[in-house]
Symmetry: C2
DNA sequence: TAAAAATACTCCATAGGTATTTTAT
DNA sequence: ATAAAATACCTATGGAGTATTTTTA
């Protein structure tokens, strides 16, 4: 199961159909159809009940949808965190005691809080 | 960014090297090398500092690791939830008032709580 | 010099596209 | 008759492997 599978799956649910989902995803209808089926195969779970055209979420589909939303949101958050230009992480600084006392308080006060 | 990328990334961190990660993943060393580099390219972020053999996590890598762990755990949880054989979801049941009063309390008590 | 990462290449699986058919409004 | 999903088939991207080279401990 990949994030791209979940992106396609949620698009189908949100758009209420494969064709419209494909349009939004800038993909082709047959591709979306196939990806959804493959996802169902891999998970060994039916995600939609096909009543002709209508695609209706199964309870399992509903369950997956909840997780998919959370996973995609978390993935977005991760990517955003990495784009942060603000320096992060541990910063070690060494100096002589005398220098530290005189020189460091000013510059370091920038990072207070 | 796909879950398989994150699986590879975390394996490299946990095993402390590409070769050992490759072994654990039943993949080949060059493949793991490439996947890690591609991930860095896509995210436009260096995840490791290469000091010769040694791979050392950058702060950004550290950040991604946290998210990766959460994402993979959540994905596992999702798959597990779908394998649950216990029926889930909304269950609608119609009956005549008289039937309901006499016939339903017994069977339905199974689902109490 | 031994062990690990990087590089260059080859191959194949599969994702994505085109065209058509089926199905249900 | 229309619109959407399924199916069959083709193409090509990129993931995975083999072999080799580079690097540093």
């Amino acid at each position: 199961m990949e994030l791209s599978d979940l992106k396609i799956f949620t698009a189908v649910v949100q758009e209420g159909g494969i064709t419209r989902a494909a349009e939004r995803l800038n993909r082709v209808q047959s591709n979306v159809t196939t990806r959804v089926r493959q996802l169902e195969d891999r998970l060994q779970t039916k995600l939609f009940d096909r009543q002709g055209k209508r695609l209706i979420l199964t309870p399992a589909g509903r369950t997956l949808l909840d997780y998919a939303d959370r996973l995609l949101a978390l993935a977005d958050e991760a990517e955003a965190a990495l784009q942060e230009k603000t320096p992060r992480g541990l910063f070690r600084l060494g100096s002589r005691e005398s220098t530290a006392a005189v020189r460091l308080p000013g510059p370091l006060s920038v990072f207070a809080q």
